[in-house]
Structures are given as structure tokens and as C-alpha cells.
């Protein structure tokens, strides 16, 4: 009875749409009517994605501190040349824009450490949570919970923990140890920036890896058990190879997110001490908005260089995905 009603409703809707569809086809022709449906999406995509990209190019090739394009003189590749003007790219002090190269170096280290350790910890956590342990549901929720928090809230909580008179130092002092200014020593500040970033993002990747683990057929493990394959060999020969497509997705997503890291670090350390935790996005923000004069062109050029790096990473991901699809 219900099914009949649903079918009737569907047919009613179909009949209702038939006339306008036929009219559209008649007006634009059958082959072009698809563009009519794509148009709203294309307009939105053009306005909010393509136009800003074009504007970014325009800003990157013009100078001055004005926003109105008509007031900005054309400077060509001056900003790019200024950013890339270095005697040695491994020594920021030899660069014209030393803070840019410090930010590039920090971002490189941050991506390497954050992504590397996050994937490792996410994998270990997912492997444990995939087993039949006590309170499994509770622990899955616990690991995912930080993902739901705003990065600013996360950073403020950790700031209270790590500051001079924070919870961590109080605990250390109570236990008879000395205290450390965690956010004022460059190495420690960088460590905590990586740690907090892993802490608040790991749950998301654990969830993806868990889904990947659960999609591995159990009969493969049963066959291995029957053959007497030890656990570590099952992990190495079955789990990891079959999880590789999921790992690849996790890696690409986490690299892109790590390159774009900003809010939690900005609140936690402000990019300091000095420029020890200033990453590329903060450099772009500082140059474009918080210092005087506002160098919109330089900020746009730096963001385009960063976009270029992300573009290369995305191409590598696509190539790797295609290769894996071909292998499978």
C-alpha cells in the first residue's frame, strides 16, 4: 500500500516536471540542456573559487598598500623575486625576506613531524580500537572528541596547561621537579605546537583508518590463522598492504591540513618565541593584515607559492591513486 503511494507520488512529480523539461529541451536543444543545470553551480564556483584565485594573481602582480585594484600599480613579478631572493635557501638570514624562509622552514619541519607522528599514532590507535577490547565504543568517542572542539578552544586549553604557572608546571613542581617555560623556549614551543596539532586532529584520521581496517575481509585473516601465520606477519603482509589506499588518503589529507595550519598555533604561541613557530599561513596573515603597511601583494605572492606546493602534492596524490587503481 505504502509502496503504491510512493510510486504514485513519484509519477506525479515526474509528470509535473515533464512539461518544463520538454520546454527547456526545445529552447536550448537536447545536448545543451545539461549546461542549464550546471549553470548555478558554475556561477557559485566561479564567484567564490575562480574569481578569488584570479584576484590573488592580480594582487600578487601589483604593489602598494591599497585594496582597490585601480589604485595598485603593476609590479609584475617583483613580489615573487623578492620572496625568492636568497643566497642560500637553507639559511634564512641570507634571504631578503628572511621571515618568509623561516616560515617555509618551520612549515617543512612541522609537516614532516606532524604528519609522520600523526599517521603512526593514528595507525596504532586504530589497530587497538579495531580489536575486541573493553569499552571500545567509549575509547573511540574519547579519541574523536578533540576533533569536535574549535581549534581556538583547543589552543586556549593547552595554553593554560603549558604557561609558566600552568597545570603542567604545577604538577612538575608538586612532584619535586623544576619547571620549564614550555612556550618560551623555541624547541619546546615547536614540540608542543606539533603535539597539540596531533592531539586535536588525530581522531579524524583514526576514524578513517578504522573504516579501512574494517573493510579488510576477515576470511583473509582466518586463512592466515589456519596457516599458522604469526600476528606481526599478518600485520605486515595483510593489514598494511590492504590498508595502503586508506593510508594514502590519510597522508594526503593530513599533509594539506598541516601546510594550512594556523589558528591553534596562532592562539597557542602567536608564532613565537621570535619566529620559532611561525608557519606560512601566519606569515601571509602578518604581512597582509597585522603589520604596517599592509603588503597585500607580497601576501598574495606568498600564498600563490604555497598553493603551488599544494598543487604539486595533489598531483602526486592523484598519480599515486591512479597507480594503485591500476595495480588493483
Amino acid at each position: 500500500m505504502l509502496k503504491t503511494a510512493a510510486v504514485q507520488a513519484y509519477e506525479g512529480a515526474f509528470n509535473l516536471l515533464e512539461r518544463p523539461m520538454l520546454a527547456l529541451q526545445k529552447l536550448f536543444g537536447q545536448s545543451r540542456v545539461a549546461w542549464v543545470f550546471l549553470l548555478p553551480n558554475l556561477v557559485i564556483f566561479g564567484l567564490f573559487t575562480f574569481l578569488p584565485i584570479i584576484l590573488n594573481f592580480v594582487f600578487a602582480t601589483t604593489g602598494g598598500d591599497r585594496i582597490i585594484l585601480a589604485d595598485r600599480p603593476f609590479v609584475g613579478t617583483e613580489h615573487f623575486a623578492s620572496l625568492l631572493d636568497c643566497e642560500s635557501y637553507f639559511d634564512p638570514n641570507s634571504c631578503h625576506r628572511d621571515l618568509f624562509w623561516r616560515a617555509v622552514g618551520n612549515t617543512g619541519w612541522f609537516v614532516l613531524m606532524q604528519v609522520g607522528f600523526m599517521i603512526l599514532f593514528s595507525l596504532i590507535t586504530a589497530l587497538i580500537l579495531n580489536r575486541d577490547i573493553v569499552l571500545r565504543g567509549f575509547f573511540r568517542a574519547v579519541f574523536f572528541y578533540p576533533v569536535l572542539l574549535s581549534p581556538v578552544v583547543v589552543a586556549l586549553i593547552w595554553k593554560w596547561i603549558l604557561q609558566r604557572n600552568g597545570v603542567l608546571n604545577a604538577g612538575l613542581e608538586g612532584a619535586g621537579f623544576g619547571t620549564i617555560n614550555w612556550l618560551l623556549e623555541a624547541d619546546w614551543a615547536f614540540f608542543w605546537v606539533v603535539f597539540v596539532s596531533i592531539w586535536c586532529n588525530m581522531g579524524f584520521y583514526v576514524l578513517i583508518l578504522l573504516a579501512g581496517l574494517q573493510s579488510i575481509p576477515s576470511d583473509v585473516y582466518e586463512a592466515a590463522e589456519m596457516d599458522g601465520t604469526p600476528r606481526w606477519r599478518q600485520l605486515w603482509r595483510i593489514t598494511l598492504p590492504l590498508l595502503m589506499p586508506t593510508m594514502l588518503v590519510v597522508m594526503v589529507l593530513s599533509v594539506i591540513r598541516a601546510v594550512q595550519a594556523f589558528d591553534e598555533i596562532y592562539v597557542l604561541t602567536g608564532g613565537g618565541p621570535g619566529s620559532a613557530t611561525t608557519l606560512l599561513i601566519q606569515y601571509i596573515y602578518d604581512v597582509g593584515f597585522s603589520t604596517r603597511p599592509r603588503l597585500y601583494g607580497l601576501a598574495a605572492a606568498a600564498s600563490l607559492l604555497m598553493a603551488g606546493v599544494l598543487f604539486v602534492l595533489t598531483i602526486i596524490q592523484l598519480a599515486a591513486t591512479r597507480k594503485q587503481s591500476g595495480d588493483n
Binding site: 604561541t269 613565537g272 613557530t277
Partner: protein, 419 residues
């Protein structure tokens, strides 16, 4: 015929209503209670000027510094705002001289601070700003900590070096975390640097930054961070040109001596209460001079307003002696209005600490060096204020040698001025 007449009358009434209903948006930040104090005056203004309503939008200082200029650049933003960056916003400001009934009265009362906005292409006799809070940088000391430590507090005319020595002695005796702290901004750095001989401008009035005096204070400043005299948390605790103060540490009695400015007085009066005794030291001396930096927040109108006449009326109202006196009584700020400076302000419910601090800071303003006033009125001063902490901090944390940091600072400022 009757219908046509009725429609025409209705149309005229609506048109007249639309023309007379003018809503002014006033973007306001506050150190203490400034926005609330101004909001309390608006009913009186609206009663005097039927058809004009004023909406006071309270925003954080960061919005005034970062968002407001971008809004103005694209022709958006409020009709008026309470700002401190007169040089940076000068080209957006509205000259309200044509719209005020008695420009001479405003000129007579606010002449010195009016000059701060008469920069760039602005008219040399324009009325662009009504300063409602004259400020001076200077020190605050926790008297109770000095008493507990049995250390004699340095008196008027004492140098930074003397304060550093005394503050260290107090810190060590009573076991608080910090001896001294200076707000993380080039504005607070400038007063002491001038006291150490920094000129900031050459004899032609062109800006110079790193001279022997500037270098001398920078060396001392970094050395005081290395030996723990200055709180490392303030300057090393952030990156870039980010502003950071140490008011919370002073309020929590965790800091012996704090170099900030008169705008903290209201907050200290409110938040410290009678928890401990504190005193304002005013300007502190160096080997060459005893100067702080003058400054002040003021109300400015913007060219893009649709109601310039109403903005002019409001600014004239805000400039009036009785209105300023009422606002200052609530905000506990130093007046920029010369009549009120002479008369004095009857501050409401203020403690002796607050009264004494206001007197000390107000008295220090006329003693400031000419270069301090020149820097305050300099159009590119904010470039100096943001570049200084960015580079000096790099020397403090060891990313750059002091020589390299100062060379980079000079280059940053030269580039900013060239823009």
C-alpha cells in the same frame, strides 16, 4: 483627485521621514568603560538633535587596528570610530570643520591633538579628531611589594637602571616571578629608547630609527631579558608584531615594576582595588632624557559617511566641555581638552592610588621630548611600532644577533616608508 492628493502627501511624509532619520554607527573600543560612558551620553545628543540616532558598536581594539582600515579601504565601515592610529587612517577621515558651529572653540581646546590627524593630504586647519583620552607612557610600581621587601623605591627622576636594580632586589626578596615588564610594542619601546638618546628623526624631520641611542637601549633591553630582569613572557611570548601586555601579572601582584601607560589606571583601580598599594612613576629617565610617549584615543568621522553634517554635530557635541567632563569622570582618563586640564576632572569613586596616578601621568605629559610628539604625529609610526617587537624579539630569543636584528629593523622601516 482626493486619492491623488492623499498619495502625494503620504509620499512626501515618507520622503521627509527618510531624509530626517539618520542613523550613525559609532565603532568603539575601550580600555576601561569608554564605550559605556559615550553610550550614556547619546540620549542627550539625540534629544538635542531629533532625527539623528547613534548606535554605539563596541568592538575589541584588534578590530580597530586590523578590520576597520580594510572596511574603510573598500568604502564600507562605520560613520565614526574611536581610534589611535591617526596617521594610518588619516586619508579616510572626514574634516568636520564645515559642519561645526564653533570651530574656534574646538581649536582652542584640542589644538595640540588636532595636529595628529593633520597629516598627509589632510587640511592643515581641518578638524578630524576629538581626543577623549590623552595618554602617556610610564611606569607603575607595586608599593606593597617594595614595603614587604624593605627596599627603598626609586624616587622621581630615577633611571631605568635604578628601577631595574631595585625591582630585582624586591623580586628576589619576596619571591614573585617578575622584576620588570614592558608592553610588547614599539610604542612602549620608544620612550625609553629616547631616554637613552634615540632621536627617531634627523634635523630635517626625516625618520631615522637605529642610531646610537636606539642601539644603546636595545642592547640594555636584550641584556635585561637575558639576566631575567625583564619578563621574558611578554616579548618572547609572541611572534611578529603582535601586541602583548603584562597588566594581568601586575594586577596579580606577580610583577614589581610595569612600564605601560596611563590608560591602565582605570583598570588597575577597578581590578586591584585595595588588594595592594601601587604608584605611578610617570616617565622614567635614561642617560640622556626622561621622556615617555604621548598619545591618545579619539573619535574620528569618515569621508564615506552618508551623513557628514550629523557626524559633525556629534563630534561637536562630544568635544563640549560638559560632555567631555562627564565622560572623563566615568572613564578616569586624562583630558585632552585644555579647559578641562586647567579645571581638573571630578573623577567618580576613585581611590587615592588612582587619583595620584592620574596626577603623576598628567604632569609628565608636558615634559616629554619633542621627538616623542613628532613620532606620535608621524604618519608611518605604526610601521615602527610593529617592526620593533618583531625584530628585537628575534635578538632576545637568539634567532638573530642584535646587530643583524637592528639592520633588519632599519631595512623593514625603510621599505615601509617607501610604500
Amino acid at each position: 483627485m482626493k486619492t491623488t492628493l492623499t498619495t502625494t502627501t503620504l509620499g512626501l511624509i515618507l520622503a521627509a521621514g527618510a531624509a530626517s532619520a539618520q542613523e550613525l554607527r559609532f565603532m568603539c573600543y575601550q580600555d576601561g568603560t569608554e564605550c559605556a560612558a559615550w553610550a550614556s551620553q547619546m540620549p542627550a545628543f539625540e534629544a538635542e538633535n531629533p532625527g539623528i540616532t547613534v548606535v554605539v558598536d563596541e568592538v575589541p581594539y584588534q578590530s580597530i587596528i586590523e578590520s576597520l582600515p580594510v572596511q574603510l579601504e573598500v568604502g564600507e565601515g562605520p560613520d565614526l570610530a574611536r581610534v589611535t592610529d591617526y596617521g594610518g587612517l588619516a586619508r579616510f577621515m572626514l574634516d568636520v570643520r564645515p559642519y561645526v558651529s564653533d570651530p574656534a572653540a574646538i581649536e582652542a581646546r584640542y589644538g595640540q591633538s588636532l595636529a595628529w590627524a593633520r597629516v598627509g593630504d589632510n587640511n592643515a586647519d581641518g578638524i578630524y579628531n576629538i581626543v577623549d583620552q590623552l595618554t602617556a607612557t610610564g611606569g607603575f610600581a607595586n608599593k606593597t611589594l617594595f614595603d614587604q621587601a624593605g627596599v627603598e623605591m626609586p624616587g622621581p627622576g630615577a633611571t631605568f637602571a635604578e628601577w631595574a636594580e631595585a625591582s630585582r632586589a624586591v623580586r628576589d626578596a619576596v619571591g614573585v616571578d617578575f622584576a620588570m615588564a614592558i608592553d610588547r610594542t614599539g610604542h612602549r619601546f620608544a620612550g625609553p629608547a629616547m631616554s637613552y638618546g634615540a632621536a627617531y628623526f634627523d634635523e630635517n624631520g626625516d625618520p631615522i630609527l637605529v642610531d646610537d641611542g636606539f642601539r644603546s637601549f636595545a642592547e640594555q633591553f636584550v641584556a635585561w631579558h637575558e639576566d631575567g630582569t625583564l619578563a621574558r613572557d611578554v616579548w618572547a611570548g609572541a611572534g611578529g608584531g603582535t601586541y602583548q601586555d603584562a597588566a594581568a601579572e601586575f594586577i596579580n601582584a606577580n610583577l614589581v615594576m610595569y612600564y605601560s601607560g596611563s590608560w591602565q589606571i582605570g583598570r588597575f583601580g577597578r581590578d586591584i582595588g585595595d588588594a595592594f598599594d601601587w604608584v605611578a612613576t610617570g616617565g622614567i629617565c635614561g642617560p640622556v632624557a626622561c621622556t615617555g610617549m604621548p598619545g591618545g584615543a579619539g573619535i574620528v568621522g569618515f569621508k564615506q559617511t552618508e551623513h557628514p553634517e550629523a557626524v559633525g554635530k556629534l563630534m561637536e557635541f562630544m568635544a563640549r566641555d560638559d560632555v567631555q567632563a562627564a565622560v572623563l569622570a566615568q572613564t578616569r582618563n586624562i583630558p585632552a581638552n585644555s579647559v578641562l586640564q586647567e579645571q581638573g576632572i571630578e573623577y567618580q569613586d576613585v581611590s587615592d592610588d588612582v587619583k595620584a596616578a592620574l596626577t603623576t601621568f598628567a604632569a609628565s605629559i608636558p615634559t616629554f621630548a619633542d621627538s616623542a610628539y613628532a613620532l606620535q604625529g608621524y604618519a608611518n609610526n605604526r610601521a615602527i611600532y610593529t617592526a620593533t617587537p618583531a625584530r628585537i624579539t628575534q635578538a632576545i630569543v637568539g634567532e638573530l644577533s642584535l646587530d643583524d636584528a637592528l639592520a633588519r629593523l632599519d631595512a623593514d622601516i625603510a621599505e615601509a616608508i617607501a610604500q
